[in-house]
Each structure stands twice: as structure tokens, then as C-alpha cells.
Amino acid sequence: MMIALFTILFLGGGSDALLGFIAETQDNVKIVMVRDERQKSALATLKLMKKITKVRNKQVKKAAKDLAKAFNHHSVTVEQVDTIWAGYFTNIDQHNHDMLDLRFELKEHINREEWEAIFPES
């Protein structure tokens, strides 16, 4: 219990792919956009976003597993935990960067009206 608690607090909410929801909008894209080359490109970008989110989720699971393993030992050092943390943080940065690249790539395929219909504010 303590280990699971420490693990979730260590991951600090960075575990969630904050832009991962974008990848789940294929259905909206199919409804809102005309079936043409632009739609095809938008769907291809979403597919890529889904793929890298999947990779990210695997990295989070591994970090959580490594942390839990480390926390299990009373003799674990700050350095050992920090090493896991550093790798985790590098992954967060890379993932956010890649997702943003793809988000702006997606925007190139979708006009303003379509965008607002696919991603409503609420």
C-alpha cells in the first residue's frame, strides 16, 4: 500500500498523457470532415498520436514498476530513486514535444470550423 502510494505521488500526475485525448477523436474527424485527402491525412496523424501515446503508457508502467521495486527496499538510496525519476522526466518532455508537433501537424489538415466541431470547448 505504502509503495503504491509513494509511486503515484512520485509520478506526480505526469503519468497521464495530457494530449492523449486528441488521438481518440477519429470518429469525430470522420463525421465532421469530408472523406478526402485532408481527412486521410488527419486520420494518419491521429493514428501516429495514438501510437506514441501507447509507447508513453508503456514507459509510465515501467517507471512505476521500477519505482515500486526500489521502494520495496528499506536501503534504497536517493540516487537510485532519482535515476528512475530522471529517465521518467526525460520521457515526459519527449512525449509532450512529439504530441505538440503532431497537434500542430493535425491543425494543418483541418480548418477552423472543422476544428471547433471536432474539439468542442466543453
Partner: protein, 154 residues
């Protein structure tokens, strides 16, 4: 804690777990925060049982109080981050710089969170023996598992 008591607790926890796992909040009066509160109460009880020394036990429980506060705050932060991420994305005119600033702020927050938790973790290790730590670490209740899953599912 003996096995029969744990089994009994597991049965008591079962409806709570179902309400979380099934997402049927309307069928239960317990909110995720109520479940979390119960989970931490269980944890405090277990710590009192494992750490016999009253002074160290009190210190450990004070640390658990801090961790409960951290978990509650984290839950609120995750919710706020998700809402903000959706708002930024929904705006067609949001710039890359605005997203970068958003992520940098979150990353700073996560690093600060990590420093606070590191401190609590070290303090916990300092007041427990390897045997006590091992026992506390191994203890699991379904209510706490449900709390953690509920936080991960936000």
C-alpha cells in the same frame, strides 16, 4: 492484522470498489474522496499495528497525514491540468509557446511534488526498521487499491 480481519475488511470494501470500478456514482453515497479517506484510515490503523513504539508510530501517522494531503492536492491538480489541456487544444489559435508554457509549469510542479515526496519517503525510512517497512509496504487493502486506481483514472 490477522487474516480473518483482512478478509472481513475486503468484504466491507467490496461495494465501494464496485462503485468506483463501475463508475456508478449514483448507486453509492461515497465519493472518491470518501473512499480515499477510508483508505487512509485503514493505513493509519495498520501502521499502529506494525509500529509498536508510540512515538515512532505517531511520527509515521503524521507523515501519512501529509501524504493524504498530497494525494488530494494531486487529484485536484490532475483534473485542472486536463481541463486546461482541453481548453488550449480547443482554441484554434493557441500558439506553440502557450502550450510550451503550460507544460513547463506542470513540469515544475511535478518536480516540486517529487521533492516533497522524496522528503516524506526518507523520513518514513528513517523512523521504521527494515522489518516494519517491509510489513507496511506489503500490506494492501482493496480500498487503497481502489483509491489509487481512481486517481490514475482521472
Amino acid at each position: 492484522m490477522n487474516a480473518s480481519f483482512r478478509i472481513c475488511k475486503s468484504f466491507l470494501a467490496f461495494p465501494v470498489i464496485l462503485s468506483i470500478a463501475g463508475g456508478c456514482a449514483g448507486k453509492s453515497d461515497l465519493s472518491p474522496l470518501d473512499v480515499q479517506k477510508q483508505a487512509f484510515e485503514d493505513l493509519r490503523t495498520e501502521i499502529r499495528e506494525v509500529i509498536g513504539n508510540p512515538q515512532r508510530s505517531t511520527e509515521a501517522i503524521a507523515l501519512v497525514d501529509d501524504l493524504e494531503g498530497e494525494l488530494t492536492a494531486l487529484r485536484e491538480k490532475i483534473l485542472a491540468r486536463k481541463i486546461r489541456a482541453k481548453q488550449l487544444n480547443a482554441n484554434y489559435d493557441t500558439t506553440r509557446a502557450e502550450f510550451d508554457e503550460f507544460f513547463e509549469r506542470i513540469n515544475r510542479d511535478i518536480r516540486l511534488n517529487q521533492q516533497r515526496v522524496t522528503k516524506s519517503h526518507r523520513a518514513f525510512l528513517a523512523i521504521t526498521t527494515p522489518d516494519e517497512w517491509s510489513q507496511i509496504a506489503k500490506v494492501r487493502t482493496k480500498v487503497m487499491s481502489a483509491t489509487i486506481k481512481a486517481n490514475q483514472a482521472i
